[in-house]
Symmetry: C2
Subunit: 214 residues, 2 copies
DNA sequence: GCTACTATCTATAAGCT
DNA sequence: TAGCTTATAGATAGTAG
């Protein structure tokens, strides 16, 4: 629709391409406008000019509303997977995962914080008793060490304490003695295996400490 | 461009509107196609027919890529806030919140599961000792009850146990005695207040049991 | 909802300012 | 770079199937 018939292929002359873009973009927007009024429809038109500038059109609705209507369409009506929606769904799944994790951890904590009613068998009770006794031993040993430190205020060396239940490392330990640290690491893996075994077989009422997180 | 000039206003005749939509939609898509080729640009066109069916066009890029290019534009270039992006950001924040919560709970659990090194003062140690002792008392009382139940296999009544640290209710209790349940609830609020007070003032080394969650 | 026809209206390519 | 002009290609309203 001009003086000559135009081949539909990329216009190589940059200036010409820009001019044609400008003219046809306006024509397209005009047609989109007419369609939206005549037929009373939702429409969204996005164009990026050869130089990257955005032009857009939407009818009575905001362009976001039209895009939202599009992304909320079931996949078979849209004809393609929706990356934005699936990203949101992935995040929602992650939120749910964490929500469950928090619930699980709070349930575990309840045992220690006084609610013994979730124990339903003597066997379970004995296990919890054992775990609590060990933890108590650790805390009492720790208290002794701290009391000694309090008394000997001039002593600046770092004290170490190992619990009966599991040898807990300190960062200080690792920092000052790489060699001992290696010993600890190999030992740690064995301990870790034991705990994982107990845990997987339901012998630990509470999931064993995740050593890797320390 | 037809036998008569058409007023640009909604076509009231439904059939006519549908027909016009169909024709003009094709025309619009053709023009969009030509523009995308001639000027080598990104373009996205979304239309919902009067009956709600989606038609769309995009050039060489997938329509999602064009929409993504749009939503990733800085707000001042887009001219409006981006609801999709902010929804994703909100979810990301929630994930982070939960991640922190999990970390916090795991840290608390560590105390009980043997790692006493996070205790740094005698005062703290005494508090943890006290909490563990109370929990141990609860578990031991619970064990006794369960042992009795094991012995009296013919006894079908539900046994109740209350810990020293906090009176924990059981679902059985609430189910069989609404009146006592009310007593418990009023008592529970007081307990809750005490624990919240202790917790807020740093007197509890571990966040008190969330009673509302029971 | 789609195709075909065709008179008529519209968009626009090229050229000019 | 942006508008204007104009000849012409293209789109489409009305109609029928």
């Amino acid at each position: 629709m001009g003086r000559v018939k135009l081949q539909i292929k990329k216009i190589e002359n940059t200036t010409n391409r820009q001019v044609t873009y400008s003219k046809r973009r306006n024509g397209l927007i005009k047609k989109a406008y007419e369609l939206s009024i005549l037929c009373d429809i939702d429409i969204a038109l996005l164009m990026f000019s050869p130089s990257g500038r955005l032009s857009m059109f939407s009818g009575n609705k905001r362009i976001e509303d039209v895009l939202e209507r599009y992304v909320n369409l079931p996949e078979h009506e849209r004809g393609r997977p929706n990356t934005v929606v699936s990203q949101i769904e992935d995040l929602q799944l992650e939120v749910n995962k964490f929500r469950n994790k928090v619930e699980e951890l709070e349930k575990k904590l309840r045992i220690f914080e006084g609610d013994s009613l979730i124990i339903t068998s003597v066997h379970q009770a004995e296990y919890h008793e054992h775990v609590l006794e060990e933890a108590l031993n650790c805390v009492r040993s720790r208290k002794e060490v701290l009391e000694q430190q309090q008394d000997l205020t001039s002593n600046s060396s770092t004290e170490q304490i190992f619990c009966h239940m599991q040898n807990v490392h300190s960062n200080g330990f690792l920092a000052t003695s790489p060699h001992h640290a290696a010993d600890w690491l190999s030992q740690r893996d064995t301990q870790s295996d034991i705990f994982n075994f107990l845990d997987l077989n339901g012998l630990l009422p509470l999931r064993s400490l995740k050593l890797d997180d320390i």
